[in-house]
Structure formats: C-alpha cells, structure tokens
Symmetry: C2
DNA sequence: CTGAAAGCGCTTACAG
DNA sequence: CTGAAAGCGCTTACAG
C-alpha cells in the first residue's frame, strides 16, 4: 500500500502554500481568497500528478463538518419484517440527501451492553460522526432524545415525538386530520356511534388518531359515545367483545392497524355478520401485512417518503443556519383510500 | 449550543494525562498500558460529570481508522425499480457489518459533473471517508475499479467483476454451476439441443451462464449445437425467431432473465405452442418483475444476502490484516427452484 | 495576491 | 504506573 499524498505535498510540488491549495480544492478562489489562474492551474496539475485525494477526517476535524447525515433507527434498519415499513422513509431521505449534497451514515453498530439499540453507548454519543441525524423507529428512548436535544446535536425525528421537558424537531403524518376525515365519511353515511379501536399502549400516533375522532364529533356536534376508545390487545378481540359493541349501538370503527381490523372482521364473521353490510371499519394507516382474506379497506396511507425527505430538509436548514436551534415540525397530509369497508349502518338500510 | 468538552478537559478534571484518558476510553487498560483502578474510576467519573463524548473525526485522523464501511452503488440505491434488487444485498451487508462492529456509510452524493455516478470526482476518491467499501451495481466503470485497486483502497465488489490489468476482490453467485444444473435437468428429461438466450451485451454473469451451458454439454459428452448461444434484444424475439429455433431442433433454453423468457413464451403461444409441452424454458436467476401471466418458472435464485454478508467479511478480514492485500473471491451456490416449465421434449412423448 | 502558523481533538511512541 | 509531546492532515484567521 503506497503512502497517500498530503495537501502539503501538493503545495510543495506546486510551489504554493497549503492555504492556497486548500482554497483551490474548496472552490474558495474568487470568493474571499484570490489566486491567480496560473497558480491555480499549477495546483490542479500537481493534484493530478500525485493523484492526491483529500482526507475527509482531517477536513472534518479542521472544519467541524463532513457533509454526512446519520440515520439512526430504534429497530434494525434492514430486517425482513420491517422491510416495507422503513423503505419508503429511506427513499425520501436518500432523495433529499442526494439533492442537498450529503452522504448518509447508517448507524448499524449501536447495540449497547444490554443488547438494546441506543444512541449513547458508554457515554459516547454515536451520532457525532455525522453533522446531523435523522431518527426513526417506534421504540424510541425519550430520555435519550431529551439528552440529545439538550446536548445541541442537530436531529429530526421521523414521526411526531413528545419528549418530556424538551421540544424536538419532527416530521409527522397528519393522523388527526386523516382520522377525522374517515370518521366524517362514516357520519356522512349515517353513522352516529363510531369508536376508535387501538392497542393498549400510549404512543403519539394513537393520541393523534384519538384526537381525530374527537375532532370529528366536535365538528359535527354529535354526542361522544360513553366509551369512544377501545384499547385492547389483538388476541383479546372476541365475538363477545364485538357483540358488546353492537349492544352499545356502535355501528362503525376506525382502527389503529390491520391486525386489529382483521380480528374485528373475524369476530363479526363468527357472529354471522359482514362488513360493511352490518358494520363499518376503516383503517388508520397502511396495512403491515399482506392478508389472504383481506377486504378492500377504506383507509388512509402515511406519506412516508415525504416524511423522510422533509426530515432531511429540516436538518439541512438547521445545519446551514446553526444559530437558529428552534425545533421545527410539520404535519404532512395522508391520502384517503376509498375502499369497500364502510357503508350506511344497518338501521338506516331498513328504512 | 454549548461547547463540547474535549478529552483534555476530562484529563484536567481527573488530574491525569490525556494518554491515560485515551487508554481508559479505548479499553487499553490491562493491555499494553497500566492504569490503577482508582485512577480509572476518576476518569470515568470525570467523563460522566462532563458528559464527555469522543470526537470520531479526531479519532479517525489520529488512528487512521473509523470503523465505517462504505456502500457505493453504480445505480441509485433506493429507487423504486431497484427496490427488490438491492434490498437482499443490503440486508446481508447490514447483518455482517453489525456483527463486526462497523457502521455503514451510504454514498449517495456521488454524481459527477456529467451526472454519472462515479467514485472519482474531480480527482477526489469519495470512498476514503470509509475504512473500506462494498461496491454494487451493474453499470460499473472498470477503469475506476482498476484505479481504485491500484490505489490500495480496500473494497469488495458484490458480483464477479473482470477488471482489465487488475485483480479485485468480489463475492459472486455460482452462475456457472447453477446454469449447468438447469441444462442437465433438461438433458435428464431427454433434451439434447438446449441453448442459452441472453441480451447482446457482454457482462460477467452472462459469461458465467454460458460457461455453465458448455460445462453441461462437456460433462454429458453431448455435441454442442452449432449456435449454442442466442444473443438478442427482448423486443426482437418474434414467432419467426422461435420457429427458426425449432427448425434447428432446439427443444429447450436456459434464459438470462424473465423479460426474455416471457417474450419467448409469447412467441411460442403465438405459434400455438405451449410450455413445457412443446418447449422447455428455465430461468437463470430471480425474476425482475411480477408478471400477470407468468408460469411457475423452473429457475435458480441468487444468494444475494450471502453475497452481501461475505463481502463485508472479506473487507473486515482485509482491514484486520492490511499486510495481505491479495484479492479474495468466492462463488456462492444458487438454489434451484423446480417449477413447471421444463418437461420431456415433444419428440420423446410421441414414442 | 500569498505564506507562516495556530488549531481542530484525538492516538501513540517514548521517556521516566 | 503516568506524563509531555509529536503527529495525524486539514482549515482559517492573520499578517504582509
């Protein structure tokens, strides 16, 4: 392996100072620094002759920047299961990074001593290799995010994240608006008791969808059901549960995910009922899986690609203007997909 | 944004030298360097108290390594079209990188002045940011690869690459063996005239598949047809072409890709013939697209994941042992998929 | 228009 | 067992 040439080698060969070489390779000539065309040509010749290539680490150390954006995910980034989940985000991130002239660093080596993926590993912030980072994943560690924000490190979360005692930048899907829209579609069909069914865990997107439900009731002035939200694990959805809902007069639901929706569907079928004839269901987001017996869901899709590209845009804005550290956020519109799973409630059809 | 603490700040607070702090955070204690347990504890306390995090750029500059592996692709890495193509490679690369404790740098910002993706941009080798790189893509620039190899930069190509005047490391699929296997399967059914149909372009994998065809003939001792390889653009495959093949006594083909195979199928159908009753076809690799009217191809699949992980393994071996710069290569076995597109040739069925 | 020099924050012989 | 210091290869005021 031959030794690499240094900038000073180029300077010596071209008979100029290192400052001049630096100015030439960084296209500073004509800006604050002046170099005569002949001198510049000598520098380029010397570079070509030696086959000189700049050392990015040294450049980074000296300038404090390296035009690298990190991608940190709280779940493995390229697993089989999450394949279709992460991909559209990455697509948007890559597109925008390329457009902005940044490379992407995938933080793959991030499991700590306990086997957990985390940003701080033995007090080392792994992300510092990159000028700024895009963060993704459902199982984030809020305390880490707070610490990261406090440390002044530039990052943007893909997906709304509520961090106690901190305000962070994020790009989110407008779950609230999209969910409200689905509920209103049911209202338009004559439904009056529509509830939200979700898993029993507090996450921001569930909060947002719940808010969407409430907003729809508020806007239409319909009375909110006594139990507007059903928090339940998928495996606990049974025909009895569904019979209970029907007894309460519920005629339709918006549902967090496809597993829950499929479970509801199965229970309805077990009772001899069908969707949307006897009950309406709409899905709040993209299905996670391909199902054999999946109906054509009425649902909305999450603008993943746009969430990714906007995250990069926020990050680059922040890096270009380090003075303004105020957090930024955006709610991107979801797309409603009109399927075959909502219709007028059965009571109305009897009229 | 508060200023970050430096290693020297930790040293001052712990009342030790920077060398000691460096030894502690790099786990050198107990190896060549000795630090008393009390001193070490003081260092860790100081680190915790300041919230010190190491600066990777400085570390890289000083040590010459950064435990980052690059991924360079000659096509955009996350486009819609190549989604399913690149993904399995990335999966294997990520798995192995994680296992080996390396992060991955995706070189996204690599288009030169002419809009072409290239490693050398204005005489700068973009890859030098990473300790070593995995290269992928069909449209590689051999001259660049030669230059890269000559420069001593550690890299591994995913897919066999023949570079004039250079010998590079790669991980390949055993196209030759798998193609020979398909041809022999046809021989076993009674075929004697099986040809290879491919696009009219020279690429390594076509060379390998062709070799597979020849190998099968050689092993069985059957005479090679006068025109054993048909090089033809997809759109030029017509019923006339196929009628010609049949007239030559060809009863089956192994085919480069699914587009060609589908075109053959259409032409056969247009002649009132069907597969595999009248003609056998086997596919040499994974289909690129999902087709509406695709038969259940007899084919082989390319071990993409393994190709990716082996590339990382080669790279890490090279980095761990910089003295041995000899190129490494491996041919990984493909998996034969028994479909419904080969059968005994029609002549035999009449007996 | 150009150069000498400090500094970025680490690692690593080397000296003691 | 620990410290002083050179060096990694750049950038960037600053001086002229």
């Amino acid at each position: 392996m031959k030794t690499r040439y240094r900038l000073s080698d180029v300077a010596r060969l071209a008979e100029v100072s290192t400052a001049t070489v630096s100015a030439v390779i960084n296209r500073q000539v004509g800006r604050n620094i002046r170099v005569s065309p002949e001198t510049e040509q000598r520098v380029w010749d010397a570079i070509a002759r030696l086959g000189y290539v700049v050392n990015p680490a040294a450049r980074t150390l000296a300038s404090g920047k390296n035009r690298i954006l990190g991608i940190f995910t709280y779940e493995p980034i390229f697993p089989f299961q999450n394949h279709d989940y992460f991909y559209p985000f990455l697509l948007g991130i890559e597109e925008e990074a390329e457009a902005q002239g940044y490379n992407l660093l995938l933080f793959t080596h991030v499991t700590d001593a306990h086997g957990k993926r985390s940003i701080y590993n033995e007090d080392t912030n792994l992300l510092y290799t990159a000028d700024g980072s895009v963060l993704l994943g459902l199982n984030e560690d809020k305390e880490e995010l707070r610490r990261l924000q406090e440390g002044g490190y530039p990052f943007v979360y893909v997906g709304r994240r509520d961090v106690p005692d901190a305000s962070i930048s994020f790009t989110a899907a407008d779950y609230t608006g999209a969910t409200a829209r689905l509920v209103e579609m049911m209202f338009d069909q004559g439904h009056r008791k529509v509830i939200y069914v979700c898993l029993p865990r507090w996450i921001e997107s569930n909060q947002d969808r719940e808010d969407g439900l409430f907003r729809a009731y508020l806007q239409r002035g319909f009375p909110l059901p006594a139990e507007p939200v059903l928090r339940i694990p998928t495996e606990q959805i049974t025909p009895e549960i569904v019979r209970d809902l029907l007894a309460q007069g519920v005629t339709g639901t918006v549902v967090e995910n496809d597993e829950l929706a499929q479970a509801l569907l199965s229970s309805l079928n077990a009772l001899g009922l069908s969707v949307p004839r006897d009950f309406s269901i709409a899905l709040c987001g993209n299905p996670h899986h391909a199902w054999d017996n999946s109906p054509d869901w009425t649902m909305f899709t999450i603008p993943r690609r746009e969430m990714g590209s906007h995250a990069v845009r926020f990050l680059v804005e922040r890096l270009n203007n380090p003075v303004d550290t105020s957090p930024r956020s955006i709610y991107l519109p979801c797309t409603i997909v009109s399927g075959q799973t909502i219709a007028a409630p059965p009571g109305l059809k009897n009229l």
